[in-house]
């Protein structure tokens, strides 16, 4: 894996290399180079399987970290490519032309984090949140409890101490 990383470093601007379990490598790539890096990994190095695309919200640093995981079926190794993008103007290049299923992940990220992937098919259609009007709910500055209390009513709880309740129920004469 180190050799692969060193080879890729000649071509792309990478840093923060980390290796876990011998087969799981992760590094940070530049945003502009991501699509060509993934194309390179898929076509030349055999990482043909897109496992997932997900996002981490670094609220304090004002960054979104997009995480792409690709898998190689020949030596069962994974590569985790991380890309940091601006949180205020979240926009990223689409990878749906490399992997067809990428558009599903991108649609979800658009809905849950408000990240835009120009050209990704159907990303403006609602996927899970039909008719959602609030801010993207998986961002860390979205207060889910506050939203819940403002929109859905609560049922008052009638709590009982289990020991006393069962005592009264089973042995009412005591």
């Amino acid at each position: 894996m180190e050799q692969l990383y060193n080879n890729l470093s000649l071509q792309f601007e990478l840093n923060d290399f980390m290796l876990r379990h011998g087969t799981q490598a992760s590094f940070i790539a530049k945003r502009e180079q991501l699509v060509s890096l993934l194309t390179n990994l898929r076509d030349i190095h055999g990482y043909t399987h897109l496992v997932m695309v997900t996002c981490v919200d670094w609220l304090e640093d004002k960054l979104f970290q997009l995480t792409y995981i690709v898998h190689n079926h020949h030596d069962q190794s994974d590569i985790i490519v991380k890309v940091l993008i601006d949180r205020d103007m979240p926009e990223m290049d689409s990878i749906h032309h490399l992997w067809e299923q990428g558009r599903v992940f991108q649609r979800e990220l658009h809905e849950m984090f408000g990240i835009s992937f120009p050209g990704s098919p159907g990303q403006d259609e609602p996927m899970i949140l039909e008719g959602w009007q609030g801010p993207p709910p998986m961002r860390r500055d979205f207060d889910t409890k506050e939203y819940c209390e403002a929109n859905y009513s609560n049922r008052e709880r009638d709590s009982r101490e289990p020991e006393e309740h069962m005592q009264r129920k089973l042995y009412p004469e005591d």
């Binding site: 899970i128 039909e130 008719g131 889910t144 819940c148 403002a150 929109n151 859905y152 009513s153 049922r155």
Partner: protein, 236 residues
């Protein structure tokens, strides 16, 4: 058994203040044309004539001995539409298979709302699911009953602070029997159905009439949370 008292005079849940900013305060909300007609405003023009614009009416009661006989018959043929919204749907499998075998009690699962008269909601209800629940419930033929299984359907359960899960299903459709538990054992679900049978025989499972009488209240509540209403106001 959960205390099922609902204050129907209360403002519809959530954001009751929103309407006050609306200057066009006509006597009817935008989904009602007059006392008996619905507008179906959420539908596109070409679908308007596919659906009826009448609202549901409470069923008339017949002579009491006949009504008792009908209730006895209803209680002994419960056809279940299981709406597997959450993990509680798993409990229906042991219920219908050989171990607990509910067909000996006159119950059986049905695949479509048109053939069923017991709506079993198995778990948490998100907004997207609520839309399907309302539509399925209104499509069921009367007399119809609702059994809500699991604590999520009662008070939100572990989704008590979720942005997308309603916490009380009985504000959107009327519920006859609750089965508590996370998740309830099949015995508990059976006990719930037995309780439902008792209620039906006593003539107390009037959820369908309640829905027709308080249709405005239920519909306002549904419209508060379902923001993209693109189905008929009452689905037949």
């Amino acid at each position: 058994m959960i205390d099922n008292e609902i204050n129907y005079d209360s403002e519809p849940v959530a954001n009751a203040g929103d309407n006050s900013s609306n200057p066009t305060t006509s006597a009817y909300p935008d989904w009602r044309k007059d006392d008996n007609t619905l507008t179906n405003a959420g539908l596109p023009d070409e679908e308007q004539e596919w659906f009826c614009d009448a609202r549901p009416q409470p069923a008339r009661k017949s002579w009491q001995p006949i009504e008792d006989f009908l209730n006895w018959a209803r209680a002994n043929s419960l056809w279940i539409l299981a709406f597997g919204t959450g993990c509680g749907a798993i409990e229906l499998r042991p219920l219908v298979t050989s171990r607990y075998d509910i067909s000996r009690l006159g119950m059986q699962p049905r695949p479509t709302p048109r053939q069923a008269n017991v709506f079993m909601i198995g778990g948490y209800v998100s907004i997207k699911t609520l839309k399907r629940i309302v539509r399925s419930y209104e499509q069921m033929q009367g007399p119809k009953f609702v059994v809500a299984v699991c604590s999520c359907a009662i008070n939100g359960g572990m989704y008590w602070d979720s942005y997308n899960t309603v916490k009380r299903i009985d504000e959107y459709i009327p519920v006859d029997v609750y089965v508590t538990g996370c998740m309830p054992r099949p015995e508990a679900v059976l006990a719930g159905f037995t309780k439902l049978k008792e209620l039906i025989k006593a003539g107390k499972a009037e959820g369908q009439n309640l829905y027709a009488e308080k249709f405005d209240w239920y519909k306002e509540n549904q419209k508060k949370v379902i923001k993209d209403w693109n189905m008929p106001d009452y689905n037949w």
